[in-house]
């Protein structure tokens, strides 16, 4: 089955720093979606990409359009409210509409 590898598994940063989270897929993907889950358990969709890059404030995500096996989420100028667990989820390119979640990156922002 599909394998979604997220790295790093955990990351601790100080406020104001930048970071990059990564998502690798073992097969080509139709699309990728990034989520953030807060401490209360709510899952918020950050980006949905079928190709290219998207940006929203301090967050930017890219999906490798050529190989379709790699995606990144960049966080610029990290703030305390960015803390949470970040998941990437992908939809395979072979007609299966299900999405598969990575194991997540637990991000902690320190003052």
């Amino acid at each position: 089955g599909d394998q979604v590898e997220q790295s790093p598994s955990a990351l601790s940063l100080h406020e104001g720093t930048d970071s990059a989270l990564r998502c690798n897929f073992t097969t080509t993907m139709r699309s990728v979606q990034w989520f953030r889950q807060n401490s209360r358990g709510s899952l918020i969709s950050l980006f949905y990409l079928a190709s290219g890059t998207k940006e929203n404030g301090r967050l930017k995500s890219a999906f490798d359009s050529k190989e379709r096996r790699y995606s990144t989420l960049h966080i610029r100028d990290a703030q305390l409210e960015d803390s949470g667990t970040y998941f990437c989820a992908d939809m395979a390119n072979y007609g299966n509409e299900k999405i598969t979640f990575g194991a997540g990156t637990k991000l902690t922002i320190k003052p």
Binding site: Q33, G41, S42, F87, E97, I99, T100, F101, A103, G104
Partner: protein, 114 residues
């Protein structure tokens, strides 16, 4: 986008009892799904809720244990039968508006089985 509402937000129940979780979408959606998430773990797809027919279950999940109904394009219920402490987790409903579209999640139902 799609807004999903779940009821209850959380519940505590005794082993052996059953619990029903409801999910309502603010618009008609093509696909509806149910996910399970244990603490500190990722989300696992349980089943696809099919309108007017039986749900399609993933490996490890059965209709006897987790019956799912979807009477129309905006509503689904997940029942946890014969609840056990190992069923304690967050249950999310999820949907998308098109076959390969962005996916949205409800707020989750946190279940604790004593």
């Amino acid at each position: 986008s799609v807004l999903l509402y779940q009821k209850p937000n959380r519940d505590i129940c005794q082993s052996g009892t059953s619990l029903k979780i409801q999910c309502v979408a603010d618009s008609q959606v093509v696909s509806m799904f149910w996910y399970q998430q244990f603490q500190e773990q990722s989300l696992m797809l349980m089943a696809t809720a099919n309108e007017g027919s039986e749900a399609t279950y993933e490996s490890g999940f059965t209709k006897d244990k987790f019956p799912i109904s979807r009477p129309n394009l905006t509503f689904s219920t997940l029942t946890v039968n014969n609840a056990r402490p190992g069923d304690s987790s967050i249950y999310f409903c999820s949907s998308r508006t098109g076959l390969y579209a962005e996916q949205f999640f409800g707020p989750g139902t946190r279940l604790t089985v004593l």
